[in-house]
């Protein structure tokens, strides 16, 4: 384990050195990342100029909703910094046979493939997310209890774990399909469901979708549960969702490991 931590920190240091070598590009990436986030915030502000809350009686009025958005920013920035740059490289590695050189190394292939490249510019959104969270929480009518603050970072880790599991399973699909340019798109589209409160998925089509995205692909747990823990009082149902999120995180990571190993077992080299 210590060996992996050492290698992980070496990768992180090398990527940081690389980013700092192209400082202007790094700065531009931070700015564009912040630009995307600002655009979304502007969109939400526009929405709240038309409505007092999202979903009648849902409780997601402006400040709680911005706490929700902030939570999403924090979780996504962690995933984008640590895992996505490596995963998005996998596509070409499978197609060109570059995966072979990873498989012959005396290290765990999943570790190498999912954590060898980092994008530190994505941390900018996470930092803004923390600022936005502070702004929103200070405007809550009721201060969140201590237990909510204790659970919040743990649930953030669970959210990251669920997304990591999803990325690894998509990476496995890349290996099986030979080329998967849509991997990043698919990840973007599927995580799109987690960008809004689960309460919006209501009605004859919304309810089954909400159940599917909660219990089958637990994408709705990723942001909803940590944000809900802060923004709303912890009731019996909320505790159930907290327990479910912990379970989903464990299952996602475990299942993704099994699927990824199965995909590697079926891998046929593309190189000569």
């Amino acid at each position: 384990m210590r060996r992996y931590i050492k290698i992980f920190s070496t990768f992180a240091r090398a990527c940081l050195v690389r980013d700092m070598t192209f400082r202007v590009n790094f700065l531009l990436e931070c700015l564009t990342s912040l630009g995307w986030m600002s655009m979304n915030l502007a969109f939400y502000l526009l929405i709240f100029s038309f409505t007092p809350e999202i979903g009648r009686g849902s409780g997601w009025s402006r400040e709680p909703f911005f706490a929700f958005v902030a939570t999403g920013l924090i979780i996504n920035s962690i995933v984008q910094t640590l895992f996505m740059p490596s995963a998005s490289e996998l596509t070409e590695m499978v197609r060109t046979g570059g995966l072979d050189s990873v498989l012959v190394r005396p290290l765990d292939a999943q570790f190498l493939l999912s954590m060898h490249r980092f994008d530190f510019s994505s941390m900018a959104n996470g930092l803004v997310g923390l600022g936005l969270l502070s702004w929103a929480v200070l405007r809550f009518p009721v201060t969140p209890p201590l237990i909510a603050w204790l659970l919040y970072p743990l649930l953030i880790v669970c959210g990251v774990a669920i997304l990591y599991g999803l990325i690894i399973m998509l990476a496995a699909a890349t290996i099986l399909m030979g080329r998967n340019q849509s991997l990043y798109d698919f990840w973007f589209y599927i995580t799109n469901f987690s960008r809004y409160p689960a309460e919006i998925y209501a009605g004859p089509w919304g309810d089954p979708l909400r159940s599917f995205c909660t219990f089958v692909i637990p994408i709705l747990l990723v942001v909803n549960v940590p944000a809900g823990t802060l923004a709303r009082p912890l009731s019996g149902e909320s505790w159930g969702m907290v327990v479910l999120t912990f379970a989903a995180a464990g299952i996602s990571v475990g299942l993704s490991r099994v699927v990824f190993q199965a995909a590697l077992a079926r891998y046929r080299s593309a190189s000569s």
Binding site: F22, N25, L28, E29, L31, T32, G35, W36, M39, A42, F43, L46, I47, F50, T51, P52, E53, I54, G55, R56, S58, M177, G178, R179, N180, Q181, S182, D185, F186, Y189, I190, N192, F193, R195, Y196, E199, I200, Y201, A202, G203, G206, L209
Partner: protein, 294 residues
Amino acid sequence: MSTTVNSESLRTSYGWFSGLRSWWRMLVICLEERLAYRSDFALGTVMRFLPIVTQVFLWTAVFAASSRTDIAGYSRDNIVAYYLLTMVTRAFSSMPSLAGGISRSIRDGSVKKYLIQPIDYIGFLLASRIAHKLVYYIVAILPFAAVLFFCRGYFPPAPDGLTIAAYILSLLLSFLLGFFLEATLGMIAFWFLEVSSIIFAYMLFQYLLSGHMFPIDMLADIPTGITGVSLADVVRLLPFEYTAYFPAAVWLGKITGWELVRGLLIEITWLVIMIGVCRFVWWRGTKRYSGFGG
């Protein structure tokens, strides 16, 4: 060995296009390339519908909570139809990987093969993009038809024949406008080798200002500080709305009569401007480009 390529002398000797046959050959090659990864392509096509689902539920929740029947002239059904129609427009105007591909070919030097061969690079890219779109439409027509049929209740009655003709024209123009906008953007790499951040910034502005994110009419009440000029008025001065908002608004009957004719003329003007800018940037870029080795 090192060579400095002067593309202009070579290119003029062969003319702008190396003939219809070359174009056809390029089209066939690109079709074959696209169809080589069919499952990936089909998956990507189907996935594009997922954000619409979220938007439908989001706006339904917004309308339910606000108790309004109309936002910026759009009912809930209008908004859903608008997002679906912008998807159709983006199927024409979006150019995935075009700007990035051009900048990469300049950065890694692979562009020089187009400079020394009797092939017009912009023509090649256009043929390639037409092939890309043809394959996309072949794959996407069924899911598109299914979704539009399934969501037919959200749409107002079909417009008259003239409006439909204007709509189709605006779609075709949006394809060309999108192509020349992004091709020009990719050629910035002649001056700045690493342009990924610039491309990303462009994508952001494009997403916001084209009406892809929400109808531009929603900005009509946002002041700019200039008396009588709203943010929507400023956005409408740019070419981006023609790559998403304009065709959708035409189909929904938001733009009619002389306003529609004026809109189409402005779109054509922007297209002519962008063709000129693209050619000029290519000409200036290849003047300063130097390829070494290989």
